[in-house]
């Protein structure tokens, strides 16, 4: 499987997570989001950017609670909650947002 971005082919696994994390670009994120039926807006970009920053530091996605805490700080309590995160990413802020952010899928009993 693969995504097409600006005439370039970017490989992904059977679930749509990109194979080489260094292939990620904001343009690719928009393409992955479109495949997920999601239109990127400011709030979604903020989540995706936070995930990428966190991953840069820790080599893993943050716990949902950590993500929500960060969202609460930057977006305010009305948006910094689990419910709003699921409105942004219906298949889960961890899994779906990670896919768009070009990060590996969180595995385990999650």
């Amino acid at each position: 499987m693969a995504y097409e971005v600006n005439g370039q082919t970017v490989e992904c696994d059977e679930e749509g997570y990109i194979t080489n994390l260094s292939d990620w670009t904001p343009e690719l994120a928009a393409v992955i989001a479109e495949a997920e039926d999601i239109e990127m807006d400011d709030d979604r970009w903020e989540v995706v950017n936070f995930l990428r920053e966190y991953y840069d530091e820790y080599q893993i996605a943050p716990a949902v609670r950590v993500l929500i805490k960060a969202a609460k700080k930057s977006m305010g309590p009305e948006k910094g909650n689990n419910k709003y995160m699921y409105e942004l990413f219906p298949y889960g802020p961890a899994k779906q947002a990670c896919k768009i952010a070009g990060l590996p899928k969180p595995t385990g009993c999650v």
Partner: protein
């Protein structure tokens, strides 16, 4: 292929027997493990050319080594007692999901190659050749069994169906035909120490964050120690407790109980996982390697006791097999059971009068309890028979005012699987998970209608994740599933804690 019917089953009763739909789930398959996942577990990287010979050799080896497996293959009389006991059969109506029929996919091949009648008169005894179609059928239907063992409770011969599923998966792995979800996860445990792949630095950062949360909430400094040499207790908990909701609230609950009990405890970044998916794939060597991490961590940290957090199959492995897999535990304090369940610890503290609760903190909920299969049918808790049923309920009732049980035919030893156990908690099996949850969800809906139950409490990471995903399909919010220690955390009053009264005074 599966019929693509992703409708949520509507049952009038949790145990309503469906009109059968032959082939309804045919061809449903989770993703295959990649060569690198298989290699990391010591399996062939992909389906080997001589898979037929290798599969039969593995079956012979298992029958030789595991007497129970051979007996289970030989003694089934097709009485049918198990047919309607499987939640996947009730939810999918596929007759091959009747436990007896699912087992027979393997049994028919065993009969062909390992019994006199099957070798010479296969057509008389329903014996089948092992073909690629049969192998694919195994891959499909042995990933539609969660090894929950409800059917075994009703088998007059005591055939443990899960053992057959585990053997089938072990055979599939032996020929390079394993499943992505479980194999990738086991590789991460071997490599990093937990299912998530959470490295020590990230784990420490998460725990520090949680300590901050507890202090913000209560005004009390409660530590969640990690890698602390010389601590008395090693807590081994599923890594979902570091990551997912509502699991993480359970972890906060354990920390508050330990704090209030005044014991010294620690997590380990090396053994940062209670789960042992080696059980799910029926592979002894992987199960042993995962367990050995706990032994090494306990020795390196010099602890005296080991306590397990809320994880269903981990508790089965710990309670039933840990001594064989990673014992002897003679270096631990003999005054305590090895291992102990966090609920045993908490219940003991409650009985000693060491914990104080404000039960009204849980008054916005009416609760019921989901017995997790591996705890209910594969282990025990405390020092009396049935402790695994009573202790969780006792703890919930000690911290909540509103508690109601579900239909007795769906609880205790007859509990229904959440629909995501046994290594099936993967997105590529979501259709099966939604359907398999329908009996449990129907029993829950009954308690909602009759008693106003709003929340379901569980003590297994898989159950919690599965319910948070499927409950919205059955008319509940995703946060209607709670950890038992989340309820404890809500109600417990820590020494020096700012209560609401303090705040308003």
């Amino acid at each position: 292929m599966a019929d693509g019917d992703t409708q949520v089953p509507q049952l009038d009763d949790p145990l309503q027997i469906p009109c059968i739909k032959p082939g309804a789930m045919e061809g449903l398959q989770p993703f295959l493990a990649s060569p690198e996942h298989n290699k990391a577990l010591g399996f062939p990287e992909e389906l080997v050319p001589d898979w037929k010979e290798k599969a039969l050799a593995k079956m012979a080896e298992l029958a030789e080594k595991n007497r129970a497996f051979q007996v289970y293959l030989d003694i089934c009389v097709k009485c049918g007692a198990c047919t309607d006991k499987c939640h996947y059969f009730l939810g999918t109506a596929d007759p091959k999901n009747m436990p007896v029929a699912r087992q027979d996919l393997l049994r028919s091949v065993y009969r062909r190659y390992f019994t006199f009648a099957g070798k010479y008169f296969p057509w008389l005894v329903g014996a089948r050749d092992l073909t690629k179609e049969v192998l694919d059928e195994w891959y499909s239907y042995y990933h539609q069994c969660s090894e929950c063992r409800r059917c075994s409770v009703f088998c007059p011969y005591g055939i443990d169906t899960a053992e057959i599923t585990m053997a089938a998966r072990d055979i599939l792995d032996a020929v390079g035909y394993g499943m992505k979800y479980s194999n990738e996860i086991i590789g991460k445990v071997h490599d990093v120490g937990n299912n998530l792949g959470l490295n020590p630095k990230a784990l420490r950062a998460t725990l520090e964050d949680l300590e901050e949360d507890i202090e913000d909430e209560t005004g009390v400094t409660v530590r969640i120690p990690i890698d602390e040499q010389g601590a008395d207790i090693l807590l081994v908990t599923p890594s979902a407790d570091f990551f997912a909701e509502p699991h993480i609230d359970g972890l906060i609950g354990y920390a508050k109980v330990f704090h209030q009990a005044g014991v010294s405890w620690t997590l380990s970044s090396y053994a940062s996982e209670a789960a042992n998916f080696g059980l799910f794939i029926g592979n002894y060597e992987n199960m042993r390697l995962v367990s050995q991490r706990i032994r090494k961590a306990a020795k390196d940290l010099g602890v005296k006791r080991i306590i397990f957090g809320e994880c269903g199959h981990a508790w089965r492995v710990a309670y039933s097999f840990l001594n064989t897999l990673a014992g002897p535990w003679d270096f631990l304090d003999p005054n305590y059971p090895v291992p102990q369940h966090i609920l045993e610890f908490t219940w003991n503290e409650i009985q000693q009068g060491n914990l104080t609760f404000d039960k009204s903190q849980n008054d916005h909920m009416t609760l019921t309890f989901h017995d997790s299969c591996n705890v209910a049918r594969g282990s025990r808790m405390g020092d009396m028979p049935g402790g695994q049923f009573e202790i969780p309920r006792n703890v919930i009732k000690a911290v909540c005012n509103n508690y109601v049980d579900m239909d007795r035919d769906t609880t205790h030893e007859s509990t229904l699987c959440c629909g995501g156990g046994g290594g099936l908690l993967t997105d590529d099996l979501m259709d099966l998970r939604i359907k398999g949850a329908s009996p449990r969800m129907t029993a829950l809906q009954q308690t909602t209608e009759e008693h106003g139950v709003t929340h379901l409490a569980a003590i297994c990471a898989i159950c919690k994740t599965q319910f948070s995903k499927v409950m919205p399909k059955y008319g509940y919010d995703m946060d209607s599933i709670v950890s038992v220690h989340q309820l404890v955390s809500n109600a417990i009053i820590l020494d020096g804690q700012e209560t609401e009264e303090d705040a308003t005074a």
